[in-house]
Structures are given as C-alpha cells and as structure tokens.
Amino acid sequence: MNENLQNLIIDTTKSIASQLKKTQSKEITLDTRLYGQDGLFDSLGLVTLIAELEARISEEFDKDVVLADEKAMSQVRSPFRDIKTLSEYIEKLLEGE
C-alpha cells in the first residue's frame, strides 16, 4: 500500500482532530475509526476531513478526486470507516484516474 498516502491521511486526520479539539486517547493509526460508533469524528468532522484530504491529495499527487463519489456512497461497508479502508479506497481511486 502507498505509504505516502497513508501518512498523508494520518497527518490530515491528526490536523483536523486537533482543529476540532477531538481528544483521542490512543495514537492515530491505520486502525483508527473515523466515523460511526467509537469513531473520531461526527458528520461535521467527517466532511471537514474529506474536504481537506481532497485538497491535500491534489497538492501532493496532482490529481483532483471527489472522495464522496457514487462508488464510495454505494458500498455496503463505507470506505470512510477507518484510515486503512479509506487509504485503500483512495489508492484505487488514484489508480483509476
């Protein structure tokens, strides 16, 4: 899996969590749940994260992606549930560009 991408998602998650003053007792890792039960963010936090991630992906990889696309929203298991699934999802999205 793309390590740069994983680090970018972890850094962005930390940055948004800090902005929104979300306290996280454990370190933010690939297994950190982003949304839903025991998730780091509420819906407002999740949309903030998604908007920021799109901007950083555009800067870092020079590719414009819409993360909340039809494929993401129609999956039974949401790609936004934790950092690992989100990373896998974005990697596929970037490969498909």
């Binding site: 407002l44 949309v47 908007a51 920021e52 799109e54 901007a55 555009s58 800067e59 414009d64 819409v66």
Partner: protein, 232 residues
C-alpha cells in the same frame, strides 16, 4: 487584500455586468462560461467550464485553490431558460435546464464550499426566479429547476452555517437579457402585471440585493430568498 469572487456564466448578460461591476470595486473576478471570455481586465481570470460538468468544475476550483488560495464569494449566475407547455417539452430539454440551473449550482456550491470551509468564511448567492412563487404556465421545467435551487439554498445554509458560510438566493423579475429573448411579449407583460411594481428588473436592482448578501454585516442572513418587484 483584494476580495475574490467567482461568478459563473460571465460571457454575457447579468454575469458579464456583475463581473465588470465587481472589477470596478477592486475585486479579483474569476469567471467561467462554456465559451471564450468576453471580458478583458488585468484582474479578470476566465475558465472555459461548463458548470454541469463535474470534472470540469472540480478541476476549475482546484486550480483556483492553487493559484488564488481562497474564494470569498460565489455567484451561481449561470442559467438557461426554456418556456413551453409541458406537453410540448422534450425530455432532453428538461434535462438540459436541470443540468445547468440545478446541477450546475449544486456542483459549484459543493466544490467552492470545500474551500470556504477551510477559510471559515464564504458568501454564496444562488439564483431563483419570480416564476417560482407566481407558478406560471409555460414555465414548469424552468421554475421547477429554480424551486430545486431554493430548497438547495435553504438546506445548504443549515449544513454549512457552522463554517461561517452564508447561502442565499435572489429571485429576479424578467430583466432584458438573452434569457428571455424568445419569450412572447404578451407573456412577459402578463408576468410584469403580476408584480407589485410592474416594470422590468434592472441590473442595479440585482446588484443591490447581491451586495446586501455579500456584505460583511450580513453574517446573520442565510437560507433566505429575496424576490424582486414585490412578488412573494
């Protein structure tokens, strides 16, 4: 620092007039249209973008983010009209009207809001029409697309309020532009007769309401639709 305004549909009509007005006020104006630009000014920047094309809108806003870093104001001005009895309206025409008026507004609002969320400031003005409250025959598709814009405005205003983004809509009366050039004169006169103030809208009438929505002091005004001409 110069304020940055993105106006869609700037090649002609109200969009062009508004671009020139805000350039005159010292703003940096970013415009877009499907065709080539018609404004030459050092502070005017143009994108050849169809607002109903998702990839095009995403690429445009991404490029603006890289070059200008922010967008303070968005005027979702691009629009198309189609007046006809609904029995005589082809599905393709209805889709084309919704593509520009509703989906174009939605896409620009969604993408520009992502940038405004980060800067914790933004003012968005959408365009409705007096045809919505007047429920005019012959405008089923056009006014339905604009009614959808009104509902989008009201809900987006709630969803984005926490980010200090206000979203309002203006509902103009007929203004003498290309948009109404194919509408029969008697139909326009019937419409004017239903307004409290029975005249065409002028560019200054729109400018006045848009300036009000964009004003720094209007930070407690969101989710509102203001109709011109005394229509409600």
């Amino acid at each position: 620092m110069s304020r940055i305004i993105l106006i869609t549909g700037t090649r002609k009509g109200i969009g062009k007039e508004l671009s020139e007005y805000y350039l005159g006020k010292g703003f940096t104006v970013i415009g877009c249209s499907r065709q080539e630009k018609s404004i030459e000014h050092p502070n005017y920047h143009h994108y050849n973008t169809d607002v109903s094309d998702e990839k095009g809108v995403v690429a445009m806003v991404s490029d603006i983010r890289k070059k200008f870093k922010r967008i303070d104001y968005l005027l979702n001005n691009a629009g198309v009209a189609s007046m006809n009895h609904l029995i005589l309206t082809p599905l393709e025409t209805a889709r084309r009207v919704f593509d520009t008026n509703f989906f174009g507004t939605f896409l620009c609002l969604r993408e520009v809001s992502k940038l405004m969320m980060k800067q914790k400031f933004g003012r968005i003005v959408n365009y409705s029409t007096v045809a919505v409250p007047l429920v005019l025959e012959g405008e089923a598709i056009y006014s339905a697309s604009k009614m959808a814009v009104e509902q989008l405005t009201k809900i987006a205003a709630k969803e984005l309020a926490d980010f200090n983004i206000t979203i309002n809509a203006i509902g103009p009366t007929p203004v003498k532009t290309d948009l109404i050039k194919n509408v029969p004169e008697n139909k326009i006169q019937d419409l004017l007769n239903r307004q409290a103030i029975k005249r065409f809208g002028e560019f200054d009438d729109l400018k006045n309401v848009i300036d009000f929505f964009l004003d720094d002091k209007s930070d407690f005004i969101t989710g509102q639709v203001i109709y011109l001409g005394g229509v409600n």
